[in-house]
Amino acid sequence: MKTRSIASFLLGTALSLTAVSAACAQDKTVKIGALSDQSGLYADLGGPGSTLAAQMAVEDSGLAAKGWKIDIISGDHQNKPDIGTAIARQWFDVDKVDVIVDVPNSGVALAVNNVVKEKNGVYINSGAATSDLTNAQCSPNTVHWTYDTYMLAHTTGQALVKAGGDTWFFLTADYAFGAALERDTTAVVLANGGKVVSGVKHPLNTPDFSSFLLQAQSSKAKVIGLANAGGDTTNTIKQAAEFGIAKGSQKLAALLLFLTDVKALGLETAQGLNFTETFYWDMNDQTRAFSKRFAAKMKNGAPPTMVQAGVYSGLRHYFKALEALGGNPHDGVKVVEKMKSMPTEDDLFGKGEIQPNGRTIHNAYLFEVKKPSESKAPWDFYKLVGTVPGDQAFTPLSESKCALLKK
């Protein structure tokens, strides 16, 4: 009797679900989940600022006036893949989230990638770096918006090798991101005739790098490649200056550096560093206007980092796809296919496209940190040194191992 009633209950639920999804064809509700490190070492480059960027994307899309109902919830993955996937599952199962955005920390990002695919949601990743998201572990539900390790290696890395830095020592954060960045940069170094002398893997969130820096110093490598991010990178650079590395013959390669990292270092220490980003607030009138509105809403008045800008742009493109579909089908693969079929264009990243593997292609910019005397305003940190077109900066489709390409 009992089993029978459960069976009929399940049948009933299944029937009503089919009814609901049929009715949803013209559904105009969207729920966004902004998943980030809200309080740890990546919180300033993503975190609450990414949630703000998502809110601004919703406001600027003007969809509310057209009858759409869009909600945003945010979560803190604490840089732990298990917590990240637990939140993602709850969001899909209980909160009925349609799209997850941001997700810095490659370890968490890859874990969430699987959940989104399983639940057929949409995943617009901005914060994570690993190129695996659109390569070996690509998914039909994922768009990787802002940057990746391949791009960092082929811009900053390549420029350094070509400038004569042909022997490398890697200081690598010991998790998915560090491994990916070291792998991609090593490939570039080798391809350009250089060699990797040695390296050391350090735990995520290390306060003291002096032991590692001494090893880097005694390796006599010409370039010390920093395959780490956020607080780890700023601590390394600051302490490298202390140990006289910057003044010696060795060059530091900050492969991944964010605006907030430069702020934390101070221009005195950071001046002269070369690195690559795909967005800077002071590029043109549009980016300045957006950044001004953004900074006004931030507690510390900070303009957006490229990660936060990526959350905004990615969502704007997502909304365009939804509008083109005429409603939210609540079908991740379908929405992402639509996103890939439309060229990307917005105020922050300019023109671009999303490749079949989910990789968004846009320009990458080589920057140099200004001297303290050159900086005219509180966040005036970068000098533009060069521009690399998207098709040269990111993985060519011929090199991608993504299974989606073998159709």
Binding site: H202, K238, G266, K299, N300
Partner: protein, 289 residues
């Protein structure tokens, strides 16, 4: 071999922070019987006070005065905490003190994080201590050498104050039997407040010392405090000399791990803690309860 010397020295530098912080914890635990989880947050406040002293609109006070002012300011803050909250927990189980201080730590960190974000603020090395010297086997930044020497002096002075002076004797007696000491006309509650202030001041001092090396960040204490607790447990809860020696020793062991097997450098302290607890549950120098 040369590289090994260098790693030993670097370990000693980190050890001096562990020693200063675990010393403060040991003083507070030994005298007040409170497991002060707010220690990391107060260490962070020390660094922030130094930062504010230098970067404000009115007068810019540099590193040297900050070494004295910051511990006093944070020490007073600590004494207020003790007077308004901690003193009500006297005689209760350790757990209450732990929970209260843990809560305070979260609140203090949360407030700082709300205003300053998580990536930190720069604080420059004072001009007199800039640069470094070549020791043959390594390049030693002068500032790091200063940290080792200075913290060693402070640690030994604190040890001397508590173990060898009249005041220290009163303190120890007050922990042993507060009622009896009070009968001799000594104001025990005031002494306890001052002791907490001293312990907190030591944390703030460590904060100022570390400001030029690390970023001044709201979470700088949270990252360190767990290791420091392990140091205190290994050294023996409440043992002053034990925590000083263990602090320096663990810094060195951690440094060596960074050289031989870097991936384990975060965990080696805890592995040691487990081993010590298995063999000698009171810690290396602890007395049986």
């Amino acid at each position: 071999m040369q590289a090994l010397y260098a790693q030993l020295l670097v370990g000693l530098i980190n050890g001096s922070f562990y020693a200063l912080l675990s010393l403060g914890l040991a003083v507070i635990f030994g005298m007040l019987n409170i497991i002060n989880f707010a220690h990391g947050a107060l260490y962070m406040m020390g660094a922030f006070v130094a930062y504010f002293l230098l970067n404000n609109d009115y007068l810019s006070i540099g590193y040297w005065p900050a070494l004295i002012i910051a511990p006093i300011v944070v020490g007073i803050f600590g004494m207020i905490l003790e007077r308004t909250m901690l003193q009500w927990l006297t005689g209760l189980d350790h757990l209450y003190g732990l929970l209260l201080t843990f809560g305070m730590a979260l609140i203090i960190q949360g407030v700082f994080q709300n205003y300053f974000g998580s990536s930190g603020l720069p604080y420059a090395i004072p001009d007199q201590l800039k640069g470094g010297m070549n020791l043959g086997f390594m390049f030693l930044p002068i500032y790091r050498g200063w940290v080792v020497v200075f913290s060693l002096v402070v640690c030994l002075a604190t040890w001397f104050l508590i173990e060898k002076t009249q005041l220290g004797a009163y303190l120890r007696a007050a922990t042993e039997n507060p009622t009896l000491v009070r009968a001799f006309g000594i104001n025990v509650p005031r002494m306890i407040t001052l002791t907490y202030g001293l312990g907190v001041g030591l944390a703030a001092l460590a904060g100022v010392l570390s400001a030029p090396i690390n970023q001044v960040r709201p979470l700088m204490g949270a990252d360190l405090i767990i290791v420091v607790f392990a140091v205190v447990v290994i050294g023996g809860m409440g043992s002053i000399m034990g925590s000083i020696i263990t602090g320096f020793a663990l810094g060195v062991i951690e440094g060596l791990t960074k050289y031989f097997y870097p991936e384990a450098s975060n965990t080696v302290v805890f592995v040691l803690m487990v081993l010590v607890l298995l063999v000698k549950p009171t810690g290396l120098t602890g007395r049986a309860a």
